[in-house]
Symmetry: D2
Subunit: 436 residues, 4 copies
């Protein structure tokens, strides 16, 4: 007879992320329970992808466990009314993932099916944040136009959230993890470092195009010193999702009830998870763009033997997933869609550039919502955090890709239909904090 | 008391598109009815965007009319089992749009709200087609990998369609027009020609990146000869959608009941429509990728005075729309999503390239569905035509954009869940026609 | 290669329903096409259920055909602004069904799967009607409170409808047939007559509780005179749905794309269909309560051998169905639900009476919508015709059943949320026609 | 700046319901916090509706609080494999509601809007139960056919549940409170006692038709002895929902994010809540039919002054509600609907009896699902607990009401489509516990 679910990992909100390691309980500690570790004691985190980071716990094939996660900045952002902490965030100290977990019986070539049974904020921290990073420290999708740092704090009440920094909106969270995946093999890790290194080598843009391995603040969980040093030197950074394992894919619909099928590349899978989001819009455009939070995720694990061949995952890629049945439902006629094309804001025509088209869709929403009194930064934050739908509409009509962004009308407390003569609903004094 | 809707334009399926003009009834023809033209007689088409193409009929502000449209190739593709007609399609003789219609009272600065009350195939032609163009004649999103021409014919039975060339699937059409928009002003037309000309000038790719004005087979409706010559010389080609008016945006969700808000740039709006689709997937990836058909569209027109300022359409761009309430509904848990990232099929890393990410999502679906016996060309056609959902998931996690493609399981007659051990359902002899 | 669908039956809007028979074309008529009958010539109708009514045409197992249907009153109601025709309707001349169709190979014990590929109004009659019958001639669910006759005419524009008699509402039709079913066997017909006769015998209410066989205006299709007389004498009336075959079940969700599984009781199934509705609310409360129309239905037939045993249809009952994927979608949060309980409008407590509870839910909607200026008859008509959702919520909490009626907010042109301070939107002069 | 939500009431799972009172903290207790009561100390419950039961706590207009609730039997049912506890349940010791809460500023004539921000099972009790009551002790909707007691235990894993007693099903909970409402006024209470008394007086059935006030085990919260005695004598029982306040309406869609609008009849509203359900089908047919659980509900309260007049709540009735946006979504084509009519299982025809029609729909599902090996009791329990949809389809086609029950296919681990040849999936040894 099943009892209460075991919690496979817990975090301590009073400690910095890099110190959570000290709470690790080795497998031989006498006070481990018979299920493998003692509840509320095991704390373990990593901020690199590397096959040699030791597993922090073992989870059975078929088992369901609860795992606590820090927010992706490891607690650097406060519940206050200044964006200075966002502006000054230390991006070398992020993504302290919960894991890696060894899954009994998982082998390279298998697929690990992870069912996301639930995601919840921590009861003692019923709030989250969305940030626009400063152009000089992280940036974001619209940083050419909006270079300053900005912030919105969101308060959670049950399934819903509101923000004192973006009045007039309330919505149910499409709660999900930003990051989950299995560890790369040594071969895959080498491939990542090769191709991203080549991109950096070839870069002619005046901006960072990829983050290569970095020893500063690397965190390798419970690894002994020599392995930790190796992980720091070779370990892949956690910012990008990658085709071979998913990782930081930031898919907003990976919510409660979803099943994700992850390729396994090392014995035991070495699964990690983190970067929980209370909500996010397609694209997560402000980079720190979801409603970032600490929380608990409940996961069920199932190994599908030889699943990669069965599911046509050629060369071990890429994850597939099936959404859960409970995402917030807006009727299709309650969405306003904004078209965008591959012509940039300077009037330059690009060739089938879907990224530029999507930026144009974003700008169209900003231009539309200004009429209610929102500042551009407020809308930028809202587009990042609310469950907007971003679609590739047409991708072959040269030279223009066409994208659309769907904005749900029902998250606003006032009527935003195009026919409605606009009124100012948001006072200037209600603007969100911005740090130039 | 309203009676039967008037049909504002009809097509003759027995004539080539370029000859439809001969059926035009001038405004002074004695047998015009008092509503502006005689039912079943007025035929009028254009295949360029230009402010000087004369209107073919006037429609009142608030009026609903039916408009017949040719398929986008003007009848070049036959209901047969060879892809040779697709291979040899004459791409200078396409997009014979129905229009332009003058809308009473519309002025530059206004918005024309067009409600799509219905779209139907012609009763006498209950079928449509999807084509993969040959790499040397049109190409498509995956033409590097799939250079041959291919074709699927779809039969319509009520709201559903099936194809003898892609067995095992049946689905309800998300029926919509590929093209609708108002005429550009002279200024906007000049801007289009400038920026697309610059793109062509700067092109270093070994492929066509944009189609500039072309006199061959230009069709200017009922224009007198000097204007027709000018239109042929300056008129914008109809392939791309463009931010200032929409045009060939190929948005699959612009279906029954949708309202689209179009900026007006010339007096009377000069609205045109065409390129009807029985169904399409997000991206329309094979270029001739929707289920292309001739049909009838029922539209209601409403002028919103000074609507561009009201809706924040800065510099006269871009259209917005609200979908109708009746699109086919698959439960969220009946979709399989395939992730794609900005790493191309040769292992090269690109920087936040969403177009490449989307191509990878497409390839993942092909690899997945092969297991049932489908050929790659069949899946390529299916991805183009079926109501797949293409999302921008993450667009800021440098260097990888992440896109997803959602494939509805319920369009298949067999179980395609990842857990199901795959069986061959499609025989080799069931492959679609391909013309190398 | 499939061509245009054949039309299996057509109606003539210029003839009264009882004369449609004269257009019947026998199977040996020389101008029959090779598909079994000549397009646009075969007309055949019945208004009783009886196993001996001859089939009017044969449809193959697996075939799709189009069938035209009269409106359920056979054309008695006009597109005008008086409710007198509703008041004086002749209820012995209704439900001229299209059929019976013999389905090749169907035998008692089988199940006939009927897929509703499409339903459309006739192009030449783009309107329908909703009526409240007079208490003394037909009545309805609320006739104790609303005894007069009333009427609303609805105009169709594509998938949507509006009524000059109920301003302020517009919605997409959930278009469907009110009646479809296979003929009863002699045994089943005898059982119907027995049990309904016993109900009439035992009746102590001061109202009609069931309609027994009636010779007046009985119509037996192409039956020879002796059979026609027998049908008139024994044939079951078409008003009620019945468990053994479905019949007039008036299920609003049997719309485009639905599959209904009908028990077969006689060789060839003898399937009939009619009483098309452009839209209906759950309950069809005003009796003539849907948006009644003439139209065309496209059906695909498939015989499932021994299907009754396979599907657990014990004693040959009852139909099951699977809805289609395209019904109008309102987000769940765009519905207002009204609770009703088994306490009647006189304050009397009834024991688990769900019918009374449902009436109370109806009355609560009327009380709510009055605040906008609608008359009670307008709301009664609207509740009948619009796609309201009627649920059994709780049916065991003695002595009260609880029902709910869900009213979609988005069919109104003004904001009807409970928080909104109500304003009069409908003028007294906009009331619908009522005939006392 | 909002902090953690206060918990307005907590329960102690180690104490019987009737003793929870001892934990009550009076308003003058020194260790009350400044918010009105001390967290984790205030316990207060009632099991009658009466205006004189003292409020247990005050909640501000606009405030959100968490409230813990016992399961509706107050802990009488165990997580084991025998139905004996269900058979022997003491029905005088049920429905210990959490409350009454005084809402600041609420007055008779107002409406109390309650937004259900969240509902969760207690973390320490991640399971619930569904019971069929014995015909001689409670009974249920099908007790004539299924007189024995039966039970299923459900295990919760995040948002989903499964039962070892009903293998082969798994579904997401549509979690909700069975009971919520404001206290009746003295006048309304008298009216309840009058009309239910008259029903009992007039009863000729051989079964209990209503439960009148009962002194045995009456529980009046913190009331002083004289008031407690009065409450015991006059207080309305909690089993039925009632039109004037809602109460035990058992509406499955009152889930997360719903807003319910409750008439206020006494100063301060005196709101109570309880009987939490992890899931329920429309009708809750087995009486103890939901997945019953103890848990926590998060509610936001808002007083709408003079709301009853504004919302047309004539004579102070009845509640209305708007569902939340996150209910589990099954595509419409993933539901099988079963028709039922007013002909009972003995072949007797009833007149527009929707209760009988609904029972027939239930029986049709039982007959259908038997083919997989389920026992009738298992299906009866499943119909009660799973999110089945119960609709009133037609209610005017004399003499037959038509109801439908929609069964979601996707809750089963095997394919239940009608076309699929059935196989035995459930072994006899997997039957649920039954106690004759």
């Amino acid at each position: 007879m099943p009892g209460k679910l075991r919690t496979a990992l817990q975090v301590d909100l009073d400690k910095p992320a890099s110190e959570q390691r000290s709470l690790h309980v080795s497998r031989n500690t006498p006070d481990r329970t018979e299920r493998g570790f003692k509840s509320r004691e095991l704390i373990f985190e990593q901020n690199r992808w590397h096959p040699d980071i030791p597993s922090c716990a073992t989870v059975g094939d078929g088992e369901t466990v609860k795992i606590e996660c820090l927010d992706w900045t490891g607690g650097q952002i406060g519940n206050n009314d200044s964006a200075d902490d966002v502006k000054n965030v230390d991006l070398s100290r992020i993504h302290y993932l919960s894991g890696p977990f060894e899954i009994t019986g998982a082998e390279p070539g298998d697929v690990l099916r992870v069912e996301i049974e639930d995601v919840q904020p921590l009861e003692e921290q019923p709030w989250g944040f969305t940030g626009v990073f400063h152009k000089d420290n992280g940036g974001g999708f619209l940083d050419e136009l909006y270079p300053h740092a900005a912030k919105a704090i969101w308060d959670f009440e049950g399934i819903s959230c509101t923000s004192r920094h973006i009045p007039g909106v309330k919505f149910a969270g499409l709660i999900h993890p930003g990051i989950l995946g299995c560890a790369p093999s040594h071969e895959i890790l080498a491939e990542w470092n090769r191709r991203e290194g080549e991109l950096v080598q070839a870069n002619t843009l005046s901006r960072t195009v990829a983050n290569l391995p970095l020893e500063l603040n690397a965190h390798a969980g419970s690894a002994e010193e020599d392995i930790a040093r190796r992980v720091a030197k070779e370990g892949a950074r956690t910012i990008p999702g990658r085709p071979e394992h998913g990782g930081n894919c930031d898919i907003k619909n990976l919510s409660r009830g979803s099943k994700v099928y992850l390729p396994v590349h090392v014995p035991g899978a070495k699964f990690s998870v983190g970067d929980l989001h209370f909500s996010q819009g397609d694209g997560e455009i402000s980079f720190c763009g979801a409603i970032e939070m600490a929380g608990t995720i409940t996961l069920n694990f199932k190994v599908i033997k030889q699943g990669q061949a069965q599911m046509g995952m050629v060369n071990g890629r890429s994850p597939i997933y099936i959404p859960g049945p409970v995402q917030p439902q807006f009727g299709p006629s309650r969405m306003i869609f904004f078209e965008g094309f591959s012509v940039d804001e300077h009037g330059k025509q690009h060739y089938l550039d879907t990224t530029i088209a999507y930026r144009q869709s974003c700008l169209r929403v900003i231009e539309y919502l200004r009429r209610y009194g929102y500042t551009d930064y407020q809308i930028y934050l809202l587009l990042s955090a609310a469950p907007i739908e971003g679609h590739v509409a047409g991708i072959v009509d040269i030279p223009n890709s066409c994208t659309t962004i769907g904005l749900p009308m029902d998250i606003f407390s006032f009527d935003i239909r195009p026919e409605t003569v606009p009124q100012r609903h948001i006072a200037e004094s209600d603007a969100c904090p911005v740090s130039p």
